[in-house]
């Protein structure tokens, strides 16, 4: 299996030459979704005058992230904090409202569909719900052949088939599954097929949007290990979206914690789990149930996550933060690098008020 695995990847070596530069760089990324409908629905009478009113959901508000080659960056955060939006914007499924995305130094968020094609091959996505991510009217063989044919139109029929066989074997599915349809398989099997589809074009970067949350617990570990093996064998870089902290500890090399569309802390996994700095991260970590805890010391956060329609001023976390002061209510904190390799966006940590 080893020689078939290494042969069809001619471009992988040259793209890894430019070291030091992050593979993916996100700068000041923002994404707003309009709530107000079309132009006519935005017109309102106010005080006898016709005014145009627009409301937006601020899904992500200025996210900065860097992903180095070969690492597995996990993005965690509660529901609605914008982690999936980051993934979909990176993959070009959504257009960012502001900010830029660079892939291997090249800006990709404003490229045309045609100019994006080489990056489509290098970046692939794995989706959350394996029941929806396979086209129900296509056989597995068709599903897997489609991306290969698209990106390698010059390949012979036999070569395409060989590539499909290779990728099916590498995710542990039998070659005779090819003639079947997606609905004939269980969730774990389907997710393997979806992973095979992503790996079929030999990508170097994979965005995985909660790829195991929809799976049975007994299958989750299998699929997670499959993703880790693929990372090792194929030199993959991951942007891994999840809300499962156990998965993060097992899988991630670095972790980014998001809250209400902002990154509050980025740190190497071990550092983050050992010494969380940001008050939100600390609360999050304290919520992990542990066997040895007889009297768990949860940090209780007051109140609810504010609505992303009307963002709070200053730090998005200030209303629930036990350490917030006047500066937190006015000034938006930036990510500041620390000596232990982490970056924290918190005035309190910067000033040394919080240890």
């Amino acid at each position: 299996m080893t020689d078939t695995l290494s042969s069809p990847r001619p471009e992988a070596s040259h793209s890894r030459a430019d070291n030091g530069q992050p593979l993916l760089e996100i700068r000041g990324l923002e994404k707003r979704f309009s709530l107000s409908g079309d132009f006519l629905e935005q017109l309102k009478f106010k005080g006898g005058r016709l005014v145009r009113e627009q409301e937006h959901v601020h899904a992500i508000n200025g996210v900065d992230l860097e992903i180095q080659r070969g690492e597995a960056l996990c993005v965690v955060g509660e529901s609605g904090c914008g982690k999936s939006t980051v993934a979909r914007t990176v993959m070009g499924l959504l257009h960012p409202s502001a900010g830029e995305i660079r892939y291997a130094g090249e800006r990709i968020d404003d490229l045309s569909t045609q100019a994006l094609m080489p990056y489509r091959r290098r970046m692939q996505m794995i989706f959350q719900n394996p029941y929806a991510s396979l086209n129900p009217r296509m056989t597995i063989q068709q599903t897997l052949e489609e991306p290969i044919r698209l990106h390698h139109p010059d390949w012979s029929r036999q070569r395409v088939r060989d590539q499909v066989d290779e990728v099916m074997a590498s995710v542990g599915i039998a070659a005779d599954w090819g003639k079947r349809y997606g609905h004939e398989f269980s969730g774990g099997q389907r997710q393997r097929i979806a992973i095979a589809r992503a790996l079929a074009v030999d990508p170097e970067f994979i965005v995985a949007d909660e790829p195991i949350s929809a799976l049975d617990v007994s299958i989750q570990a299998q699929v997670l290990n499959l993703l880790m093996d693929a990372r090792r064998d194929r030199n993959l870089t991951y942007l891994f979206i999840t809300h499962d902290l156990a998965v993060v500890e097992h899988f991630g090399t670095r972790v980014a914690v998001m809250y209400l569309g902002r990154v509050c802390e980025v740190a190497p996994t071990a550092t983050l789990f050992a010494t969380p700095r940001h008050p939100y991260t600390q609360a999050l970590m304290s919520a992990i149930p542990r066997l040895e805890d007889e009297r768990p010391q949860h940090i209780r956060l007051e109140g609810e996550v504010p609505t992303p329609v009307h963002l709070p001023s200053g730090c998005v976390f200030h209303a629930r933060c036990p350490h917030a002061n006047a500066r937190c209510r006015e000034e938006i904190p930036r990510l500041i690098a620390r000596d232990d390799g982490s970056q924290v966006a918190c005035h309190g940590v910067e000033e040394g008020r919080i240890d």
Binding site: L93, S133, L134, E146, L150, G172, E184, A221
Partner: protein, 318 residues
């Protein structure tokens, strides 16, 4: 290393015939006598229409075979009938059975042709509107609204009358079939466009479409290769209803004198030609083609009903 397990074994793949035999479609068909009867009648109709040149005792289009002296003969069960004309004859002396067979053929051609045109326009516009959204969606859907605000018959009457006035009755008669297909097809495409658009909107949000987009597939391929096959069941269902509707529209137009000419009658124009004689006792010229039309439309509608029940997952999966 729990992942690199040996490839999992799956049960043997059923053949195409086995899949059909085990399908819910066939299962429900076998338990629905109305559907069986409707399909039987429909198949008989189509077979008769297709084989009309061989089945019919005479060719009603051939003037040499028509005997004007044998006009208005009653069907066989009434005194004064001629055994050569089982269903009697019409006012021009054409054998009614032959004329009905040929007429059913014309009606079915127009019905299916118009529906094919509606489906083509409606599917393309519906896919474009649903998938691309935005201004294209707004434009196409407003166009559909405008189109629907004119009734089919009104559009058909205006277009038919215009063509007749501009090119003359002779030209209209020569191109009556393609013209009727065009008129009825153009008047009813919004039915398809709306249905397809609704299904596309539902499918578009599913992750397999996102997967196809992240792959870099062109929109055309995503629309026709990925989304369209998943919107086929509602298209099938409205198609059956629309065939029946198109046949009725054609019959109505012919009855108004804007459809098929008397020399190449459809069921509708046969009904019309006999209508003048209904008072003089020759009721069969109108009533027999009328009954045929009703039965034809009824079985198509019954089949459509059955198909809608079978393909509606809410009715059998719950």
């Amino acid at each position: 290393m729990t992942t690199q397990t040996s490839p999992q074994q799956a049960p043997p793949l059923p053949s195409r015939w086995e899949r059909l035999r085990d399908s819910y479609l066939l299962y429900s068909f076998k338990r629905d006598p109305i559907a069986q009867l409707s399909l039987l009648v429909f198949v008989v109709f189509v077979a008769c229409a297709v084989l009309a040149p061989w089945l019919a005792p005479m060719n009603p289009y051939d003037l040499a075979q028509i005997d004007i002296l044998a006009s208005e003969l009653p069907p066989f069960w009434i005194d004064g009938s001629d055994p050569a004309y089982v269903m009697g004859t019409d006012a021009q002396g054409r054998d009614l059975l032959s004329t009905i067979l040929y007429g059913a053929r014309v009606s079915l051609i127009i019905g299916f042709g118009a529906v094919a045109l509606q489906a083509l326009l409606g599917v393309v516009f519906g896919l474009l509107a649903g998938y691309l959204g935005g201004r294209i969606d707004a434009f196409l859907m407003r166009l559909a609204d405008i189109q629907l605000s004119f009734s089919t018959l009104m559009v058909a009457i205006v277009v038919g009358a215009l063509v007749k006035a501009i090119f003359g009755s002779a030209t209209f008669s020569t191109y009556a079939v393609p013209l009727l297909v065009l008129i009825i097809g153009l008047a009813e495409w919004p039915q398809y466009a709306r249905t397809v658009r609704a299904s596309v909107l539902a499918e578009k949000g599913k992750e397999y479409v996102d997967a196809a987009r992240t792959m870099g597939l062109p929109s055309r391929r995503i629309m026709f290769r990925h989304i369209l096959p998943n919107t086929l069941s509602p298209i099938f269902v409205i198609s059956t209803v629309q065939v029946a509707n198109a046949i009725i529209s054609e019959a109505a137009l012919s009855f108004l004198g804007l459809g098929m000419p008397e020399t190449h009658p459809s069921l509708g124009s046969l009904i019309k030609s006999g209508f003048d004689y209904i008072q003089s006792g020759s009721w069969w010229i109108t009533l027999i083609p009328g009954a045929v039309l009703v039965v034809l439309v009824l079985v198509i509608n019954l089949l459509g009903d059955w198909l809608r029940d079978v393909l509606n997952p809410r009715l059998y999966k719950g």
